[in-house]
Structures are given as structure tokens and as C-alpha cells.
Amino acid sequence: MRNQALLFINGKEHRVAGAEAFDTLSNYLRYTLGQTGTKIVCEEGDCGACTVLVGRPDSSGKELTYRAVNSCIQIVGQLDGTSVVTVEGLAPPRELNAVQQAMVSCHGAQCGYCTPGFVVAMSALFETRDRLSEQEVRDGLTGNLCRCTGYEPIIKAALAVDGSRMMRARDLYPSAPMLETIGAHCRDSLTIEHGERTLSAPVTMEQAIGIRSERAPVIILQGGTDLGVQANKRGLRPPLLMSLNGIKGLDEVRIDAEMLSVGGTATLAALETAIRLHAGSVFSPAHGHLAELANILGIFGSPQIRNAGTLAGNIANGSPIADTLPFLFVMEARLELTGRSGTRVVPINAFYRGYKQLDLEPDEIITRILVPLPPSGSEETLGLYKVSRRKDLDISSFTAAIRLQTTARTITAASVALGGVGPVVLRMPSVEALLKGQTITQDLFERAGQLARREINPISDVRGSRDFRLQLAENIFRKFYYERLEPRREMREA
């Protein structure tokens, strides 16, 4: 058992115990280490000014892979066994890396306060790539806000970078010696105590369940993308925290012909990557469904959020506007829950009992999410929708998933789930019944929309009015019909 977290910061080893382990990484960098290049702007993962690179061992265990993460919502203790690179460490002393050089020559910095975050996020994009398209740059930088430039000079800077001529983090800080130190130090589970607070990082599932059973309620701190926000904004300080990062193999994402299987600590970014790398016939319905999921993941939060946040976390958080839930609902996903008395599997459609009320015992952990995929040759259509005021980096006003199984133009089965229209994501059995057995026509989907509108009872809040949500629930069926089912399909709107 250890009581010190180990992490490298710009190649230098740090062992952190006690109070500092509970500091956010951004505060630790600025206040304890005096490294003030990392800026704190929103303190809730919305602006990316505090972005740092976090390197974790890749699947081979031989190299560190660096990804951009918001340091304001990560506590130091949860970064046990990682290598952190900040804006100060992107290049050798007195040098600029290619990204920094491009940001200077393209005037990517105005007031300069968002700049360190942009520089780090952009450098992360070039960790694995030499050149980026404009779309890749734009997608890669959705997690960074700038109030001065209007973004254009920043995008131009990224397009000007040639990553092949750049010293990357993995080149600047050789992985092997750090991995050796990490391997030796992090073999045992970690327990850091400070006052009434405890952070545990077990290395086996048995330990994890033991900790969760012993002293409830132990909050699982995985990505920190919600807990970190609650801590900064509402002063939430849960006394007992547990990180599952030390448990090997729990982050696995597997896709085969029948099943998408996502481990309990797999990040949304890892899921996105696995889908994009997955080989398979582009004409198979499974492929189409996964591509649809990848599109929704592409506008989930931001790269920094997806690099930290997990699918299990999105499920356990249980928000009625969680972006992944409508998909999981219509795909009849199942959750593997592991606890003291073993493992049980629960259909996601039965998992939510009310607003943020879950069918999850205090000792249980979501260890795997299983999504059955449609067999090849089956005829299926899936549409996933997220409506928000701002396209990227926004909390949804409304989400929807519509899945049809068809033979010729007849619907043999329909699944519909709507989010943001009630305290939980809702399946729409009456609408599903209306659609089942019918021939696809525009009129059918007009009627389905009208029925959906009658079936829900949304509230008005800052993200959208009741009327707007009612109208969306109706219109989404028309949109689905036009985009996916109309015989002469028009070009999809961006």
C-alpha cells in the first residue's frame, strides 16, 4: 500500500501526498510549483485554457500516449502513474515547438490568456499526426474558447504546422525510464488520506469492490468531468473517492460482429477511436450504427472532455440529457455490474428508476457496457440527434434516437428514445407501436411526431422552452424521414 501518488511533470518526478493530492492539477501547477503558464479561466472544463498533456501507457505498455486534458477538473491524486506536460514543457528551453512557432507567425495569440491552452491542445493533435485538415483542426479545438481572435488565426496556425518537424512530447520525454519508475512505484494500490478525505486507487477489481463495500458511499472518480466541476462550482468535497485507473484491462473496448463491448474505465475518446479503427463492411448495419454513434461522440463535450470522461461515467451520472443514452436505449444495451455478490447484467432500459436514481447497489461498479450489434444482412436505420444552442461544447437541449428494422419498406420493429423531455431518457412505446408493421410514408412520420409530442411533458429551463422541446420532439421524426428514409434523399445539411 502506498500513500504517495507518482507523476512526472515536464519529465520531472513528483511524489504527492496529503492535501496536495486533492488539489486540482491546475492549482498544483500554479500555486505549488509556480508554473503559471497554465491558465485558470472557467474551472469547469468549458474553455480549455488549463489544457495539459497527460501521458498514459498505451496498450503495449511500452510507450506513453499523450492526450489533451483539462487540468482544472483533475485532482493530482487521480493522475497517479502518468506523465504530464504543460505549456512550459512543450519544447526544450528557449525553443518553440512547431505549434508555438505557427501561433506566433499566424497571430494566433491576442490577449494571450487562452493561448497556452490552445498551444497544448494543438500540440496534442500533432502527437500522432503530421498534417491536419481544416475540419480536423476545428474538431480538435472545440474544447478551447477564445474571446479575442475569432479563431481564424488559430485555425490558420494549426494548418501551417508540419508535425514531422516537431519534437513531440513522446520524443522530448523518453517513455522507457518513466514507465520503469511508474511500473515499480504503482504496483501496489494507493491510499491517500488528508483530514476526512481519502482517495483510493486499487489495482485489482477485488480491492475496488472491497473498498466500495467497506465504507459507503465511495464515489468513483474516473474522468472527473462531472465531479471536478461539482467540486469547483459547488464546493463538493466527497470524503471517499476511488479511481479505477490502476486496474489493468478495465479500459478495453472490443468490437466484433455481434457486440460492442466497452470497459468501465474506457474513455469516450477510446470508444471513438475504436469505432473509427474498426474494420467491417461499410454497408453493414452495424457499421452504420457505430458511425452514427461516432458522429454523436464527435460533438460530445470537447476532445479534452472525451479524453477524460468515460462511457460508464456518462451512464452512472444519469443525466436525462446525457448524449450517449438515447443510442444505448434503442440498441438495448446491457450493463455488467460487479459487486460483492458477483456480476449481474441489467438492461439499460431498466436501469433508471427516476431522476438520477439508478439500479446500482452501493457496492457495485459498472464494469462493462454491452451493445448488441445488428447482424449483417439485416435492414436497419438509425438516427441519432443532439440539439443544442451551440453546435460544439454544449449541453444538449434535446436528444433523440430512432431505430427502425425494416423489410422492403415495411417497418418490422421500431425503437425510439428521447432525452431532455423528462426526468430520465424516455422510450416511446406508443410511438414504436404506431410505427411497427406500417409502410414508410411521410404521413406516418408526421403522425409519429404528433404522437410523440402528446406523450411527453417537458419543462422550460435555460436550455430551451417547453414549447421548443415539444416542437422538436415532433419535428425530429420529419427530419429522420427526410434524411434517412425519403426515396430521393437530399443532401444532408451540415
Binding site: G37, C42, V87, A109, Q110, G112, R138, C148, R390
Partner: protein, 748 residues
């Protein structure tokens, strides 16, 4: 102003501070390492109106690491209850723990100081407060009947700031009109949300106070702090070399700066206070909500006969602050009969303040939408309507414009945008499932200038020379460091790399507030004259020195290029600045000069103009609004640095998009709480919101405006954009939205 072909001004030179910014080495207010630094956290009121009945700090005082807690019970009594410095824009009426009154939800009521930020944050939650609640006014509409006319103050010289203004006979003008528009337009509360939170570190040494601040007005901060404490201004030292964006909210010195100084004095330690994002909603100002009723009358050929523009905006119970939305109306179009008046109403919110193009940003929205409505009613093209009422001289003052290239802006902008493809009938342009519309609006912002003083010194730097040019100006990201370096380099005949320009320190000579888009014109003119004087001094040294090859040549006949002196005659005599200085060991060559506006402000009306064209696309099912294209053509006088100018304009236009579609500060009318006080729910644009933005500068040579020929560009970019977008959305959908921001919900 003297220019030469090899000069730096006008060239797209890289930012001189770029390297510091991309490496994280630029030091902002919260970044300074100070020995013995302690951390202050502000405790805020949780009611909107009333007074603190009791405040119990016993638990907080005993908490780990706590050094002290300042409340209205133990805070030092300041001269005039803390109001000795009131003198906007810098000095505002502040709540400085002088009494227990509560005027808004989130007002500072205590400061907890501890050895670490975490300890101060923890202890701040332990301060126990009870209140006597007063009557709350937090709902703009409910308070509307209480609106009162703005107390008349004399207009500031050169600025039309009168609240009440009439020319001609508006009723008669409206009566003679063939067509009338009478509509109300509203704009929301907004908050600046610069990326850098407000922050201050205060440290006393004897009777001297040093404040590391983030401010748009170094001298304003110095004088405000000094007067508030009853000190001599020289005893206050403000240091602010980098400012992480301001947009107006850092133009005034707000309570946290003085609270840091008070806490530092009380607890005899340096104290740092950094506001959280949430704390930036309330205590540091924001754009006030406006209600604007506009009445237009026109002949059937489009000739305007009258405009009436009545603006009501909110202020706080602490201080009157006006959003002067109606001022722009007075000079925008040639209309003989015009009335533009302003009223205020009081709400229990933090005092609002100047936000990027205060007045023009909100005024150009309402007037330009009203003009669009008029054009439709007249069956006229909106551009033709504006040309029909084009003002060749300033309709407000009757003076000629120092320059006005607006007609050219309309022409060039319309051509680039493809305005001629617009269909007049709303809701008739389609592209697949998208409803498409085009809209336009006029942009304008006045050109201001204030006196500024600059000290310039030439010295040896190894074997070369270097000019050190200093003034207490500010760089909010606008590029002051860079353009001043360029102006200095040109005036001195040096390369920019041979110039070190320094700002952000109250030990330097005075420069004005970086507000009103006037830093380039004000400080730039002073840099020019100071560096010209310095150059003449060095040239005179050469001319008067028998050992110089330039001896006997009249200084004005000597030119300088990259530090080398050459005669304008055929003489081959030459030497370098370095050689001149090397013969003067120990002798400082220094010039301090001031520059101020003169008679030209009485002879001319001075404004920048532009034309903004927007395309809107609305998804017919989800009503998602996209602005795929925005074209702005501007006449801004001389462009000092093409890269910086382009960035500034794009930035302003993005603010316009954001004003049109995103930004709104929401206050709960039941308790005065700021509902969306974070960057998750207060939406500023992300990169994907911004598509093609085109900025064109039309040629504009303005010999009258100021010595450097430049109009300000910090603010004009936001003006007109919201109007153009609202008009484009109407053209796309046929839904006329008269409030901001325009939401998906509005287009159902």
C-alpha cells in the same frame, strides 16, 4: 506623419509579445511570484436587497491557515465611505465593506485571507451570515414603470454624451411621412467574460502600495486606489504589463482591487484576490439590458422624415450607468427631425458598465432592424434605402466628416457578398432543407483621442543602439506593444527589433484608458512625437559634434534608416546612431513629449464606418441557426498593422455574432441571482460557430483626424453585426425577431 517606404507601419509584423504568450511566460496579474503571498477569497451576499443583520466569522477565523477575515464590522474606515475616488470611467461607486447594506445578490460582504488559496476557499464557506431582507427589484419588465430620465450632465468635450437630444420637429416629421415604423427592440444583459479573470495582488511597504492589476487604465487604477485610501497618487504603484482581454470591464477599478489593498493593509501581508468566473457576474460590470422604442417616418421614395429613439436601460441601486444606445442614431442618417432620449431604471444587480462599443452595439441593432422593416414596407432594397438617406455631413453637429468612406464600403461589401442575389420576399430562398436569407446593416464607431505622454530614450545595447519607449498604456491583446514598436521604429529610423516598447506601469508617463478604441490614436500620436523629438536630439548631437562626419549639417537634412544617418543632400557623409552615442558616454539622450487632440475636434466629425452583410441558414426542422458567411467592409483611416487590424475586426464581428445568437446574462427575478454565471451556460462562440468571415478595408486617407491618420478599430467590428444577422434571419424565415439573442425557439 512622415512615412518612408522601408517603414514598419502598415506591415503585417508579428506580435512582439507572441513568443512570451505561446510559452506561457507572459506574466498576468495572478501570475506574479511574491514573497509571503497570502490569498484572499471574497464572500458574497446571497440576497439581492437588504442588509447584513449578523456576520459570524468565528469559525472561519479559526479554520486552518486563516490569517484574518475582513467584514464591514472590522474593515478600515475609508475617506468619504470609500467614495472619494468616484470619477468614471476609472473610479466607480463601490461597495467596500463600509456598511452592511446589500444592493445585489453577489455583492462582496467579507474577505477571508489565508496562507493558501485552498484554505481561504474552505474558510470562506464557514462565514455565517443572516440578513434583513429589503424589497427586491430584479425584473426589468416589472421595474419598467419606474424608469426615470437621465440626470442631465454637460456633454464631455468632443463627445456627444447628452442623454436627451432633439433636432427639428419629430411630430411634424412623422405626420408628413407616407410610411411609419413604430416598434420596440430589446437587448439583454451581457457580461464581458474576458478569458482572464479579474485579479489583483496588493502589497504595502510603509506608506507605499504596489498593486499588480489587470486593467485597461493604469493611471485610472492608480488614482482610484490613491484617492480611495486618501494617499498621494505617487505612493501607489500599478503594474499591469499583460491583460488577458478586457472589452470594457477592466476600464474601471472594481471592488476586489481595493479589497485586496484593504486586506493587505489590515493583515500586513501581500494579498492576492482572483475572482472566480461566477464572481465575474455582478461585481465587475456588464452590458445593461435595453428596451428601445424606435419610430421612423419616411416618404414613399424612402426619404426619412423623422426618427424617435427612446432607450430605457437598467442600472444598479449603487450608481447610475447609461448604455447610450440612442447616440448613434443622431449621426447615422440624414434626417432633419430626430429625438433621441435615454431613461434609466434601477435593479438589484451589480452596476453595469462599458462593454465593447457601449451604445453603438445595442443601438445599431435596433435602428438597423427598424430600417430593414421600413425598407420592406416601402418595397425598397435595404441598401438603396440607406443610400437614399446617406449623410454627407454629420447630421448631429453639421460639421464635415474628417473622412467617410461608407458609400465605398456599401459598394465593395455588396459586391463581395453577392447582395444582388438577395430575394426581397422573405422565406423564399431555399437550399435543400435550409431556409436562406441575406441581411445588411451599417457599422459605425466614433474616433476618440485623449492626451498622452511618452518618454523615449536611446541607449547603447552592446555595440548597437536601442530605443526604450515608455508610457503607461495597456495591451489587452489589441496589439499596443506591437504597433507602438512599429511607430517608434519608423519615427526613429530604427528596425523594430531595436525598439523596446514598455507599458503597463504607473511609473511611466500617462496614457489614457484603453477604451473607446483610442489607444492607437492617442498613445500612437504621442509615441510618434516623442520619438521624433528623440531622433532630432540625437541628430543634433551629431550635427553639433565636430568629430562627426555629419558636423555642420542641419539636423532636418539628415535622414535615418535602420539606425544609419544619411544626408538628404548629395553628401556622402554617414554614420550610425551607435557611433553618435558612443561619443557621448554617460549622457542620456531622452525625450518626453505629449500629444493631445486640437482644433480638429471642433472642425470635423470623426467616425469610422462600415457595412456588414450576413447570410443566415435555418434548418427547417430543428430551427438550428447557422451564419455561414459574414462580410464586413470598413473605412478606418490608416491601417497600422494589417495582421493586427484584421484580427481586431474579425474579433469584433465574432462578438457581433455572439451578441446576435448567444449571449445573455440571466437573473432570477425572485432573488436576483445570476442564473448562468459560468461559461457552460453563458455561451460564447466556439470555433465551429464561426464560418467564413471576410474583412475588407477600403482605402481611406484622413489628413485631419490625428498625426497617425488612424481611426480606432477595437469596437466598430461588433457594431451592425447583430442587426445584419437579425435581418438575414427575417429574410430567410419571415419571422421578425426584435430581441437578442435570437434563439432557435424564436423561429418556431
Amino acid at each position: 506623419m512622415a512615412t518612408n517606404e522601408s517603414g514598419s507601419v502598415g506591415k503585417p509584423m508579428n506580435r512582439v509579445d507572441g513568443r512570451l504568450k505561446v510559452t506561457g511566460a507572459a506574466r498576468y496579474a495572478a501570475d506574479w511570484p511574491i514573497d509571503g503571498l497570502t490569498y484572499g477569497v471574497i464572500v458574497q451576499s446571497t440576497i439581492g436587497s437588504g442588509r447584513v443583520a449578523s456576520i459570524d466569522v468565528s469559525r472561519a477565523s479559526k479554520a486552518r491557515g486563516v490569517i484574518g477575515v475582513l467584514t464591514h464590522k472590522n474593515a478600515q474606515k475609508l475617506p468619504d465611505k470609500g467614495r472619494a475616488a468616484v470619477n468614471p470611467p476609472a473610479g466607480r461607486v463601490l461597495t467596500l465593506l463600509q456598511d452592511g447594506e446589500v444592493h445585489y445578490n453577489g455583492q462582496p460582504i467579507a474577505v477571508v485571507v489565508a496562507d493558501t488559496f485552498e484554505h481561504a476557499t474552505d474558510a470562506a464557506t464557514m462565514v455565517a451570515v443572516t440578513y434583513e431582507k429589503g424589497t427586491l427589484a430584479a425584473d426589468f419588465d416589472a421595474a419598467f414603470p419606474s424608469a426615470y430620465p437621465l440626470p442631465e450632465k454637460p456633454a464631455e468635450p468632443g463627445r456627444n454624451t447628452r442623454g436627451h437630444y432633439v433636432r427639428g420637429d419629430v411630430d411634424a416629421g412623422l405626420a408628413s411621412a407616407d410610411v411609419r415604423i413604430d416598434q420596440t427592440y430589446t437587448t439583454p444583459k451581457e457580461n464581458h467574460n474576458p478569458m482572464e479573470p479579474h485579479a489583483a495582488i496588493a502589497s504595502w511597504e510603509g506608506g507605499q502600495l504596489t498593486v499588480y492589476d489587470t486593467t485597461q487604465y493604469v493611471y485610472g487604477a492608480r488614482d482610484t486606489v490613491a484617492k480611495t485610501f486618501g494617499m498621494k497618487p505617487e505612493d501607489v504603484h500599478i503594474i499591469s504589463p499583460f491583460v488577458g482581454g478586457g472589452f470594457g470591464c477592466k476600464g474601471s477599478t472594481w471592488s476586489h482591487v481595493l479589497l485586496a489593498a484593504m486586506a493587505s493593509q489590515s493583515f500586513k501581508r501581500p494579498v492576492k484576490i482572483v475572482l472566480t468566473r461566477r464572481q465575474m457576474f455582478g461585481p465587475v460590470g456588464g452590458r445593461p439590458q435595453t428596451h428601445q422604442r424606435i419610430t421612423l417616418g419616411a416618404k414613399s421614395d424612402g426619404t426619412l422624415t423623422a426618427i424617435r429613439h427612446v432607450t430605457t436601460s437598467h442600472t444598479s441601486f449603487i450608481e447610475d450607468f447609461l448604455e447610450p444606445s440612442g447616440i448613434v442614431t443622431r449621426m447615422l442618417y440624414a434626417v432633419p427631425n430626430l429625438e433621441s432620449t435615454h431613461r434609466l431604471l434601477k435593479l438589484n444587480v451589480g452596476t453595469p458598465t462599458y462593454q465593447r462599443a457601449p451604445g453603438e452595439a445595442t443601438g445599431t441593432f435596433s435602428v438597423e432592424v427598424a430600417m430593414d422593416e421600413l425598407a420592406e414596407k416601402l418595397h425598397m432594397d435595404p441598401l438603396a434605402l440607406r443610400l437614399k438617406n446617406y449623410a454627407e455631413t454629420d447630421p448631429d453637429t453639421g460639421r464635415p466628416f474628417s473622412s467617410k468612406a461608407l458609400k465605398e464600403c456599401y459598394r465593395v461589401g455588396a459586391e463581395l457578398f453577392g447582395w444582388s442575389k438577395r430575394k426581397a420576399q422573405a422565406g423564399t430562398m431555399r437550399d435543400g432543407k435550409a431556409m436562406v436569407g441575406y441581411g445588411l446593416a451599417t457599422a459605425t464607431y466614433p474616433t476618440y483621442r485623449s492626451p498622452a505622454t511618452v518618454r523615449a530614450r536611446m541607449e547603447m545595447n552592446g555595440s548597437d543602439v536601442r530605443a526604450v519607449v515608455q508610457t503607461a498604456s495597456q495591451d489587452l491583446g489589441t496589439g499596443t506593444y506591437t504597433i507602438m514598436t512599429q511607430i517608434a521604429a519608423d519615427a526613429l529610423g530604427l528596425k523594430p527589433s531595436q525598439v523596446r516598447f514598455e507599458l503597463g506601469d504607473s511609473h511611466f508617463p500617462k496614457s489614457p484608458v484603453s477604451g473607446g478604441s483610442m489607444s492607437a490614436a492617442s498613445t500612437g500620436s504621442a509615441v510618434h512625437v516623442a520619438c521624433t523629438a528623440l531622433r532630432q536630439q540625437v541628430l543634433a548631437l551629431a550635427a553639433n559634434d565636430p568629430s562627426s562626419p555629419m558636423h555642420g549639417i542641419v539636423a532636418t537634412d539628415i535622414g535615418v534608416s535602420e539606425g544609419r544617418l544619411i544626408t538628404r543632400s548629395d553628401s556622402p557623409a554617414t554614420e550610425t546612431y551607435a557611433e553618435v552615442l558612443a561619443r557621448q558616454p554617460g549622457k542620456a539622450v531622452e525625450a518626453t513629449e505629449s500629444s493631445a487632440p486640437g482644433e480638429e475636434t471642433k472642425q470635423f466629425a470623426m467616425h469610422a464606418f462600415g457595412a456588414v452583410f450576413a447570410e443566415a441558414r435555418i434548418d427547417s426542422d430543428t430551427r438550428t441557426i447557422r451564419i455561414p458567411r459574414l462580410v464586413g467592409a470598413y473605412g478606418v483611416g490608416r491601417v497600422l498593422n494589417a495582421k493586427l487590424a484584421h484580427s481586431q475586426m474579425i474579433s469584433g464581428m465574432v462578438w457581433g455574432v455572439s451578441q446576435a445568437l448567444r449571449e445573455e446574462t440571466e437573473v432570477d427575478p425572485r432573488n436576483g441571482r445570476y442564473v448562468n454565471a459560468d461559461l457552460a451556460e453563458y455561451r460564447v462562440p466556439v470555433n465551429a460557430d464561426i464560418h467564413d468571415l471576410d474583412v475588407i478595408f477600403v482605402d481611406e486617407d484622413d489628413p485631419h483626424i490625428n498625426p497617425i491618420g488612424a481611426k480606432g478599430i477595437g469596437e466598430i467590428g461588433i457594431t451592425g453585426v447583430a442587426g445584419a444577422i437579425a435581418n438575414a434571419i427575417y429574410n430567410a424565415t419571415g419571422v421578425r425577431v426584435r430581441h437578442l439573442p435570437i434563439r432557435l425557439d424564436d423561429l418556431l
